[in-house]
């Protein structure tokens, strides 16, 4: 009984359940613009540093000698290197991969699923008789995404939800994930990154959900490496003692789809550095 009530309430806090994605988008961005009227929209590309002046100074200093530069170089090399059959990763992306980060993740009508850049990279390798990357938290696959993001910096996010019931269903699943409380500590993503964005949890400033993902992959000092967005999702699930999902699981791809659509208009800033 209690469970049903809680579930209902969880649905209820989601911005109007039966709203269209476009209505959700207006409501979602409106919340942040009302809460932070002095922060220009493009600033949300910088995560917590859009709101945390103190952290911002350190971050600026780090970005002067970007710790992810070697990753971008490596990603470019891998991206351009032909496979044994002469084709390359560039053949699997629109515009040969350059300046298209803002359109990902995308809905793929053939598979009926959401495709992230990581999925397209591994699918491309498999189709061309190369082994897919098994390490999905960091390493070569993260470096390739870093390079593709780098060529797209400044381009406003423009993920679309095509008129296909499966695309809408994937979006709704991602949205539901975002607003559902989970784990022993009982937190939804929205609890930290919407309702408490800009506040401090212990000594960490909580980033606003608006902008989430546009800076990825990200070199986090706490990790000591350049990590993928799903690595961050897993970390956030684990810290509330919830079961993390697999890298590139349907759950996380749908979540990324929802978050990316909510970012419509926010410029790509990845790869980025974080504390």
């Amino acid at each position: 009984m209690r469970k049903t009530i809680l579930l209902l309430l969880t649905f209820w806090i989601a911005p109007t359940v039966f709203a269209s994605p476009a209505e959700d988008l207006a409501q979602f961005q409106g919340l942040f613009h009302n809460a932070f009227p002095n922060i220009p929209n493009a600033e949300f590309a910088n995560g917590a540093y859009a709101l945390d002046q103190e952290g911002r100074e350190n971050w600026k200093a780090i970005e002067e000698f970007p710790p992810y530069d070697p990753n971008v170089d490596n990603g470019k090399k891998i991206f351009e290197k032909p496979f044994a059959n002469g084709k390359s990763l560039a053949d699997c992306f629109p515009n040969r991969g350059i300046g298209i980060r803002q359109t990902f993740p995308r809905f793929d009508a053939a598979s009926g699923q959401v495709q992230t850049m990581e999925v397209v990279i591994n699918q491309c390798r498999t189709e061309n008789n190369e082994k897919p990357y098994e390490e999905l938290s960091k390493g070569n696959i993260a470096d390739v995404v870093a390079y593709l993001a780098f060529t797209s910096r400044g381009k406003p996010m423009a993920v679309t939800i095509p008129d296909d019931p499966r695309a809408l269903a994937a979006y709704e699943k991602g949205k539901h994930f975002f607003y559902t409380k989970r784990g022993q500590l009982n937190f939804a993503c929205a609890d930290c990154h919407v309702n408490n964005a800009g506040k401090k949890i212990r000594s960490e400033t909580l980033s606003p959900a608006l902008g989430h993902g546009v800076g990825f992959p990200t070199y986090r000092s706490a990790w000591g490496f350049l990590g993928t967005l799903h690595h961050r999702y897993r970390g956030c699930n684990e810290q509330v003692r919830a079961k993390p999902f697999a890298y590139q699981s349907e759950e996380y791809r749908d979540l990324e789809y929802f978050e990316a659509y909510m970012n419509t208009g926010i410029p790509v800033s990845g790869p980025s550095a974080r504390k």
């Binding site: 809680l6 806090i13 500590l185 937190f187 309702n195 401090k200 949890i201 212990r202």
Partner: protein
Amino acid sequence: MNTGINLSAWMTGIIVGLALTATLAAEPPPQEQAKQLMSDPLKGNCLACHKVAGGVFPGNIGPALQNIRQLFPDRAALYAQIYDPTVINPLTVMPPFGRHGILTEKEINLIVDYLITL
């Protein structure tokens, strides 16, 4: 032969005695235990969200924990707020420490005893 048995009984006695001494020595006063529970990230971690007298690097998601006796003249209400704050506010971000087994009843009582002195 008898000596053997006596010896092992004697040894057990020593070991139990040592263990008891160790627990007694390791058990700090209730107030200290409460403070420890409130700052331990694996336990209450109240400081993640609340400013508490003497706590370092507090978060600011919840209100500062002060004047608790005035706010909660009823001890049971304070216990309930920690055991399961979602009963009072289903949308709260404060974790249901008792209902989800994050803290034991004994641990919540230690914290309650300490908070009403603030």
